[in-house]
Amino acid sequence: MKTLRKAILPFVVIALFAFLAACGGQSSSNGGSSSDAKSGQSASTRTDKSKLVIGLDADPPQLDPAMSTAAVDRQVYQSIYNTLVDIDKNLNYVPELATSWKISDDGKTYTFNLRKNVLFQDGTPFNAEAVKFNFERMLDPKLGSPRLSEINLIDKITVVDDYTIRIHLKQPYAPFLSVLSDRAGMMVSPTAVKKEGKDFANHPVGTGPYKFVKHVKQGDLVVERFDKYWGNKPKIKTIVYKPFPDGTTRLTNLISGDVDIVNTIDYKDIKRANSAANLKVSSTESLGFQGIQLNTKVKPFDNKKVRQAVNIALDRNAIAKVVFFNGVVPATSPFPETSWAHPSDLQVPKADVAKAKQLLKESGLSNVSFTLKISPSPQEKQLAQMIQSMLQQVGFKVKIEMVEFGTLLEQTAEGDYQAARVGWSGRTDPDGNAYAWFTTNGTLNYMKYSNPEVDKLLQEARTSLDQEKRKALYDRVSKILWDDAPYIFLYYPKDYKAMKNDVEGFVHVPDIMIRTENLQFK
């Protein structure tokens, strides 16, 4: 008995301290962040300028762009691979491995002139045959590449000469260049693929500025400068990628650890990062949208008025302020402000509880209740509780159910849900934000939404090469989607990257990738 009591004493003392710490929380947290800032290294003290450490939000599962399904993979690919075409800050297509290209008038034939004197990191020369090999590899159903659905409109690939390749499409497909600016356009070494087979994902070889050295699972991924790189020779010799799934840990390691730049910071940490004296923060709007997916085939959301009631009852500005500390942009359509397809005349309306009540009454339903499925993160929980509370004022009874993210995607794909908090990371071309989501039987249309007019407009928009005409079509789509409300657009995420003050050369492109080629220390 005595010994137990003695053993308890330290706990009581700890509890007391915890209590005092909590009472003085405000001041101690402020004190904490400023001392954080001071303890971090400043620009002038850096001695080793040959190594840069990048903090990622997850460990990249695998390094073969043809097989990749995780967004975080792409961060590492920026070092190892080049794409045929790249995008710049303003989402214009710029040359990378292709120096120029021509699109035929019918929009079905793309001719690329390829860069000369490019070597893969294993010494294999890059040429038209290599490009052909890459596309044929991704098109081979036996590989099971997730890229297949992005490029399955390719009919035929012709090698015109060593440095010219012609790709024939089955039908005009306006987003084709945007697809080539992502993983489908990343060229891997044919020699290495033939040699490594499936193991290529662990021994990747590309044409990028850095070559792969090693990857410890859930640990360091190291790449080293490729001395025969065709472009500007990188200033930094070694880049190390480290995974930090927890946002607070990631930022703390940036402020006072050896991390130099992180691929994302939590919205709630923006202020902390901004106030840290040794950091700078860069932000850009990204390409995606976030909101609530409604199953239009089940009650109560098979009723359009109910969907409309939800749509106008939610105070998007309050959500942006409370959950995201105004780090996001309230949304009304699938096209964020970075996109030329963004409908500027579709303003974010004020939440209108009275009108929502009216709509709910017109729907003929009473005691409307539904389950909102979310993934179990604190931020999602907070957002869901705001939605729950806002809809309660209208008369909805919302039950929140937390489901692991993979399961959530599975359940929505199977139609086993009423409402679900699922968003989209977005694509450069507006087609990538709309076609698969909102056409009847679209591959991501888990709302089971079907509107023949939307189908027609989106089909027309993807086959036309005239941007002005496409913009008009997408504007109409946005309006119809707002009215039909199969998906409640809540916000456009923004991307925040924080880095040490002496990290230079970072260009914030809306595809949120860290292009390592031009990074250097002051």
Binding site: I8, G247, R272, Q379, M402
Partner: protein
Amino acid sequence: MSQTNAQTAAPYPNRLESSPRLRSLKKALGRFFQNKLGVAGGLFLLILVILAIFAPWLAPYNPMKQDYMAILQGPSAKHWFGTDDLGRDVLSRIIYGARVSLKAGIISVAIALAIGVPIGLISGYFRGFWDEFIIMRITDAMLSFPSLVLALTLAAVFGAGLNNAMLAIGLVYTPHFIRLVRGQVLAQREREYVEAAIAAGISHWRIMLRHILPNAWAPIMVQATLSVAGAIISEASLSFLGLGTQPPTPSWGSMLSEGQGYITQAPWIAVFPGLFIFLAVMSINVFGDGVRDMLDPKLK
């Protein structure tokens, strides 16, 4: 249990003094009150029970009321424990959270008792193949799992929610009671009074319920009290991981998980529920120790 008996007994000392049974009860209570820590634990538990029962009157705010103008405010005269990321009053949520925690602790253990005691009793009394090779092996298998992992698995199978979480926790604690009761019964069964009862032709059921069980009751009560503490932690863990209480109902575990992201800028959101989990579990443990001292006849 015996504590409440004693309180009602106190006003009539003269009339009851003569009963030897009550005299030993009084002695036992005396032993309990000697254990200061146990008494302190009991008092804190009493406070929690009062908070839980009278939550609607005691809580200064509606625990679900969101105030977007007052998010992440530190402790102040208006909000003693500060406000959370949705502008809700943390103190009010803790008071309502006591309901969830106590309910989860008591009901889960009640489930474990309801299943575990009869099985342990029958298993220990009749012994044989079912006891040795079926029931004991199943309990061994269940006991070999870390209890939280098992609770997580069960809660995931049943689906998220407080009721399912309580059921899962109850099932996880059941084998502990089966083992304990069986051990007690095995020991009692060899006693002469049982032999005498059998010789007198009393039915097995009556022997089990009227003769053996009362003699095995003390360790079961102590184990039950301590298990309540474990069950409270389990519920908090499940809620922390999203499988327990569902939002917006406040529970200490889910408050802790909601607050973890703000631990640097608004520590009060996580620290206060953490403190209450700690204090509640601690007081149940020391209270349980007190009860054990009280029921232990060797400590005179």
